[in-house]
């Protein structure tokens, strides 16, 4: 799953969700121009400061809905 977001540093980028929260590589932030002008990737645990708290909650809920087993409703696009 991919979603476009605005980071706290003013850049826009994409979040990619590929696995459950138990997997540290289950979510990643793509940051255009994040590394001396070159696109960069950060794993979610290293990029929390770039998200801000509300986006963090949104990402965690979407990840749990898509890949988790706690019983949250699946996102419509995965039904």
């Amino acid at each position: 799953m991919v979603g476009e977001v605005a980071y706290t540093d003013g850049h826009r980028g994409n979040i990619v969700l590929v696995g459950p929260r138990s997997n540290p590589k289950g979510a990643a932030l793509l940051i255009p121009g994040g590394n001396a002008g070159k696109p960069a990737t950060k794993l979610f645990p290293d990029g929390i400061d770039l998200l801000g708290p509300e986006l963090t909650v949104e990402l965690l809920c979407m990840q749990e809905r898509a890949f988790g087993a706690c019983g949250l409703p699946k996102p419509l696009e995965l039904d």
Binding site: P53, T56, V57, L60, C61, G68, P75
Partner: protein
């Protein structure tokens, strides 16, 4: 639109709304807990004398939510096993479930999910040490929107207008209530909690769950955390009874202490406990 009469809260309570009373049994339990000479058997006797509360209390005690790992068959056994403070929270929860049993499923589900989120904030997050226990925190979430139940019961036409106003103007529910009724569910819910003689943090957290500055200074952290529990429950994808609009300020996040790794840990705890939402839904009906 806009034909409804608006009120201040005192006029609304004088002329339109009669706040429901806490059952005598729960009042009596709260009195007994404050009495240093009280025996556990006295509390069990009071609960047993109110069948609706007794049955719900026993079902809660035996639920996975409490996870005791043993069958509890009598109220006396429950009181001995759990102690008076937990029993007080149980009896209050059972009473609220009883009061909400006619509410829409989606409303109840959201209230329970918010309660489970608050419990997680105590068990795993920065509210640890501020509230007595996770099951006390659960009541904060369970009750946070209780004012909506009352407004809907007494002002059904105005409440239909509120729903339309929210939909058409994309504003938060409490903003529409203030605009069309003059009183929002947060302030009304706080009045109910005060009438029920619930704790000061609970009264102020309900009052401040859409604006933490409406709470007294020493309760603002809990009010801010309750706002975030409300947000978290609304992001779960559970069917919603309203279109939630949240504008949580940076000050609200800051005040709650829910940031960075603490926030991730607390949300993870909420997911781990989420299975209890469905079980509590069954118990509530």
């Amino acid at each position: 639109m806009g034909g409804a009469k608006t009120y201040d809260i005192d006029t609304l309570l004088d002329e339109v709304i009669t706040l429901p009373s806490l059952p005598d049994s729960v009042h009596r339990i709260n009195e007994l807990i404050e009495d240093p000479d009280c025996q556990l058997g006295d509390i069990a006797h009071v609960i047993s004398g109110d069948p609706a509360i007794a049955i719900k209390t026993l079902r809660l005690v035996n639920s996975a939510y409490y996870g005791l790992g043993q069958e509890v068959a009598t109220v006396e056994h429950a009181v001995v096993l759990l102690g008076v403070k937990v029993i007080k929270n149980l009896a209050t929860t059972a009473t609220v479930f009883e009061a909400m049993k006619g509410s829409a499923t989606q409303f109840l589900q959201h209230s329970i999910a918010t309660g489970v989120a608050m419990k997680s904030f105590v068990d795993h997050g920065p509210l640890k040490g501020m509230l007595g226990s996770g099951d006390e925190a659960f009541i904060f979430g369970l009750l946070h929107d209780i004012g909506k139940v009352i407004l809907q019961e007494y002002l059904p036409d105005a409440y239909r207008e509120v729903a339309g106003y929210v939909r058409d103007n994309k504003v938060a529910w409490h903003v529409a209530e203030q605009h069309l009724i003059g009183v929002d569910h947060a302030s009304l819910g706080a009045r109910l909690a005060a009438k029920w003689k619930l704790s000061k943090p609970l009264i102020h957290a309900i009052a401040g769950h859409h604006n933490f500055q409406a709470a007294d200074e020493d309760c603002r952290k809990i009010a801010a955390a309750l706002a975030i529990a409300d947000l978290l429950a609304s992001k779960t994808g559970l069917p919603s009874y309203e279109d939630p609009v949240f504008n949580l300020s940076p000050e609200c996040w800051e005040r709650s202490g829910l940031r960075g790794d603490d926030l991730v840990r607390a949300v993870g705890g909420f997911f781990d406990d989420f299975g209890t939402v469905n079980e509590l839904m069954v118990l509530a009906h």
